[in-house]
Symmetry: C2
Subunit: 305 residues, 2 copies
C-alpha cells in the first residue's frame, strides 16, 4: 500500500491508539509512528510490545514533524494536550482525535490549533471493555465505522486523506455534523452504557440476591450488560460530563418509556407488552444483515468453553 | 449412559423442548421421547427434523405411559396444559416444567396434578433470542444452570432423578425456594430484558436518528441490548404478567439508581460517576472467572466476518 502519511504521532497509548498503531503496521500505510502517554509505565509497555516505532518522552517531541497527530486520550484531557502541542505542530499537518463525544472536543481543542494546521475531529465506533496499552489489536476497526466531523471550511483534501487513512485501518467512514454525532452516539453508545452500569449496580446492591447468584446465573440476560459496564471509568465519566445535553434528553425518553411498560406490567396489560416486544425484533434483524453482529446462538460464546 | 427415564414426553416443541430432545439423544439417557405442540406446523417440523422419537396428535397421547413429562410451553399456557393432561398421567410419573417464573406456574399447575404423581418445577437458565422447533441445539444447556424448586414434602428420590436427568443434558443444578427463584430471575433475566426492550424501543422511536444509523453504528454498545430484545414476545409477555411483584420491586430500584446517575450527569458530579463505574467492573470479572462468558474482545464476534 502507498503511504498516506509520512509520520503519525499518537498521543495517548491505550486501547484505541494501540489498535491504531498495530493496524497502521498491518496496512503499511504510514512511515514512522511516534507515540506518547502520560505515565512512564504505559510508555515502557508500549515500547516493549512495539505499539509504535518510537515512544517519546513528551507530547511535544512526539508531534515534531508529524503529518498526522491523533489525540487518543480521554475526552476531558483533550484540551490540555492540544494546548501543549499546539505551538509545536508542523504547518500543513492534520490534527485529529478519537474522542467519543465531539462538540466538547471541538470546543476544547480548536482554539489551540494554529493557522495552517487542519483540525478534523473523528470518532472510530469500535471498542471493547478493555483499556490500556496491552488491550489493542490490529483488527479492532475492521468493518466498523469511523465518523468524521469536519467543520465547515476545512480543507477537502485533508479530509479525504484522513478518510483514506481510516479505510486503510479497516474502517468504513461516514461524515456527520458535530451535533448530530453527539446525538447518534448518545443513542447507540452512551445511554446503553449508563443503563448497563445502572443494571449492574442494582444487582450488586440488592442484598437478597447474592453476588455469587448473580454471577452464576448471569447467562440468562444479565451478562450482556456486564461487558459494557466493565468499560473504563475515566473514559465514561468524561463522556457523560461532556455530552450532557443529548444524554439527558434521551434518558428522559428512556424513563418515560420504561414507566409505560412498568404500568402495563402493574395493570396486567398483556397486549401492550406483546406489541412492544414484537416491534423490537426488526432492529435486531437489521443489525445482523448489516454485518454488525453474528446470528450464532450465544454469539458463539459457548464454543469457547 | 444408563437410562434415567424410560419414556419422556415434551409438551411444547420450541427452543427449549427441541434442545432438550437433542440433548437427550446426545446423552442416550432416556428410552423413547414423545412430543406434542399446539399447531400442526410445529408438529410437522419437529417430526421432519427428528426433535423427538414420536410426535403425537394430542398432549394426552404424548403423556401416555411417560415417566417424565416436561411442560415446555409459555408460562401463561401451563395451567391449561396441566388441566388437560392431569387425568392421563401415569402413577409414579414426574411432571416438571421449564417456565421462566415459578410461583405462577406452581399456582397454575399443582392443582391439576393427581395424588401419586410428583410435580417438580424447574427452570433451565439457558436460552437464545430464537424460538420455535428449529431453534434448538443439543449444547444449549452445557455448563449452564438448571434451577429446581421442589416444594416441601416432594419425594427426594424423584428430585434426585430429575437432577440426574439435567446433569445428563449438560447442565449444573441448584435447588432453590420458589419465591427466591422469582427474585433471582427478575434480577439476572427479567429486568435486563425489559430494559433492553425499552432501549431498543427508544432508539426506534427517536426520529432525529434514523433506523439506518442505529443499525450501522450499533457496535458501540447498543447491539448488546438488541439480542435479548429480539426474544419471543409471547414468552416475555407471560413472564412479566406472571412475575409482577419481583419485577416491579426491582424496576423501582433501577429507576432510583438511574435518577441518581442522571442527577450526577446534570450537576457535573464526575466523582460520583467515576466511583459508580469503577465498582461494576468486579462483577464482570466474576462472570468470566465462573466460566459464564468469554473474555475475548467482542465475544469473538469479529471472527465471524
Ligand atoms: N474504549 C472505547 O470503547 C472507545 C471507543 C471509541 C473512542 N474512544 C475514545 O478514545 C479515547 C481513548 O480511549 P481508550 O479506550 O484508548 O482509553 P485508554 O485505553 O484508557 O487509554 C487512554 C490513554 O490516554 C493516556 N492519557 C491520559 N491522559 C493523558 C494526558 N494528559 N497526556 C497524555 N496521555 C494521556 C493514557 O496514558 P496513561 O496510561 O499513561 O495514563 C492512556 O495511554 C477516549 O477519548 C475515548 O472516548 C474509546
Ligand atoms: N427461550 C428462553 O430463553 C427460555 C429460557 C428458559 C426457559 N424458557 C421457558 O421455556 C418455555 C418455552 O419457551 P421456548 O423458548 O421454548 O418457546 P418457543 O420456542 O416459542 O416454544 C413454545 C412451544 O410451546 C407450544 N405451545 C404453546 N402453547 C401451547 C399449548 N397450549 N399446548 C401445547 N403447546 C403449546 C408452541 O407450539 P406452537 O409452535 O405449535 O405454537 C411451541 O412449540 C417458556 O415457559 C419459557 O418461559 C425459555
Amino acid at each position: 500500500m502507498t503511504q498516506i502519511y509520512d509520520r503519525v504521532a499518537l498521543i495517548g497509548l491505550g486501547l484505541i491508539a494501540g489498535s491504531m498503531g498495530l493496524a497502521m503496521k498491518r496496512a503499511g500505510c504510514v512511515g514512522e509512528i511516534t507515540g506518547y502517554a502520560k505515565t512512564a509505565k504505559t510508555r515502557e509497555i508500549a515500547d516493549r510490545i512495539g505499539l509504535v516505532d518510537r515512544v517519546c518522552a513528551s507530547a511535544t517531541e512526539a508531534v515534531q514533524d508529524a503529518d498526522l497527530v491523533v489525540l487518543c486520550v480521554p475526552v476531558g484531557a483533550m484540551g490540555d494536550v492540544a494546548a501543549e502541542i499546539g505551538p509545536h505542530l508542523k504547518p500543513g499537518a492534520t490534527v485529529t482525535d478519537v474522542g467519543s463525544v465531539k462538540q466538547a472536543v471541538v470546543d476544547a481543542v480548536a482554539p489551540h490549533i494554529p493557522e495552517g494546521v487542519h483540525f478534523i475531529p473523528a470518532h472510530p465506533m469500535a471498542g471493547t471493555e478493555h483499556s490500556g496499552p496491552e488491550a489493542g489489536f490490529a483488527e479492532l476497526f475492521d468493518n466498523r465505522w469511523c465518523l468524521l466531523v469536519p467543520q465547515p471550511g476545512t480543507d477537502a483534501d485533508a479530509v479525504d486523506r484522513l478518510e483514506d487513512f481510516w479505510h486503510a485501518l479497516g474502517a468504513n467512514c461516514e461524515r456527520m455534523e458535530v451535533e448530530h454525532h453527539d446525538l447518534v452516539c448518545a443513542i447507540v453508545s452512551h445511554i446503553p452504557h449508563i443503563i448497563a452500569y445502572t443494571m449492574v449496580g442494582v444487582a450488586d446492591d440488592f442484598h437478597r440476591v447474592s453476588e455469587q447468584e448473580v454471577i452464576k446465573f448471569s447467562a440468562a440476560g444479565f451478562r450482556d450488560f456486564t461487558r459494557i459496564a466493565a468499560s473504563d471509568p475515566t473514559m465514561w465519566r468524561d463522556v457523560f460530563l461532556n455530552n450532557k445535553q443529548a444524554t439527558l434528553e434521551i434518558l428522559g425518553r428512556f424513563t418515560e418509556e420504561l414507566f409505560a411498560l412498568q404500568r402495563a406490567i402493574r395493570t396486567g396489560d398483556g397486549q401492550t407488552l406483546f406489541d412492544y416486544f414484537n416491534h423490537t425484533r426488526e432492529i435486531r434483524r437489521g443489525i445482523i444483515e448489516a454485518g454488525q453482529d453474528t446470528d450464532a446462538p450465544d454469539f458463539g460464546r459457548s464454543k469457547k468453553h
